[in-house]
């Protein structure tokens, strides 16, 4: 079993007390503690403005324990990508931002869609998953 660990640390001086929150999880298959996610798609792409694209071109198995990491490598603070799932806006990933979500691709329409705004955005992503439906050649 592959062991992949995802850890986060949030720090801030927004409050009167300095904040530091940390969490770490081992990326497991859905509903298990014994079997880690053992497949990955890891890539970097340049997304031009003008169109909405499916970030993940394959079809991961639905309702599993998949985890999706996305980072916007843009430097210009006005550049961002709009992240959508099945045409529902999730949020804007601005230059330098990253996100990490459970992505369960719960039905055939639940694609992760991405649109670049204000310029070509360089996007890094990693999908840890339990399997995908490969396209027959």
């Amino acid at each position: 079993m592959a062991i992949t660990t995802a850890a986060v640390t949030l720090t801030s001086d927004l409050l009167s007390d300095n904040m530091s929150v940390s969490a770490s999880t081992t990326c497991m298959k859905a509903g298990t503690t014994a079997d880690g996610l053992d497949q990955i798609e890891y890539a970097i792409v340049e997304i031009a403005t003008g169109d909405q694209y499916d970030l993940i071109c394959s079809t991961p198995t639905a309702s599993k324990g998949s985890k999706l990491y996305v980072k916007n490598h843009s430097i210009d603070e006005t550049y961002y990508v709009e992240i959508m799932i099945d045409a529902q806006a999730i949020g804007r990933l601005y230059a330098g931002d990253w996100m990490f979500i459970p992505a369960d691709f719960h039905d055939a329409n639940a694609d992760v869609e991405i649109t670049a705004l204000n310029g070509t955005n360089k996007i890094e992503y990693a999908l840890l998953h339990e399997g995908t439906a490969l396209i027959a050649s």
Partner: protein, 133 residues
């Protein structure tokens, strides 16, 4: 100006032939500017003592649309079979299993863009924090 950072580390020594050691830090700023994010709600915990119906965690109508809000969530459960279903305006984002966390941008693009949680069992606890622009 307040400085808020978010760091992720993804690591594995046996997933690929080469070690995976990905780490990056983002400084959270406002939409299309370099000013540090200025507001936060949390850190907070919520336990749904009985019943496990869907629950509104954040109401889209209460936050300015099209900004750089960021949300952190963690399922504190230790039972591998327990998960929170996370939805935004009814669209399922994913299942947050025991011990898992998530961090993502939220655009709150209209009044219907609520973030809802639906625990799979009674007495589950969610830890969360919202940074708002």
């Amino acid at each position: 100006m307040a400085t808020t950072t978010a760091t992720i580390t993804l690591s594995s020594t046996d997933l690929l032939s080469d070690e995976l050691a990905l780490s990056t830090t983002a400084t959270l700023t406002g939409a299309s500017n370099s000013t540090g994010i200025t507001n936060t709600e949390g850190l907070a915990r919520k336990t749904l003592a009985s019943g496990h119906a869907e629950y509104v965690l954040f109401d889209g109508a209460s936050y300015t649309a099209a900004k750089a809000h960021k949300l952190y969530l963690k399922n504190t459960s230790t039972d591998a079979g327990q998960s929170f279903k996370i939805t935004i305006n009814g669209e399922e984002l994913g299942l947050l299993f025991a011990g898992d966390w998530a961090f993502f941008p939220w655009s709150a693009h209209d009044n219907d863009c609520d973030i809802k949680i639906d625990p799979s069992a009674d007495s589950m606890t969610l830890e969360y924090m919202l940074f708002t622009d």
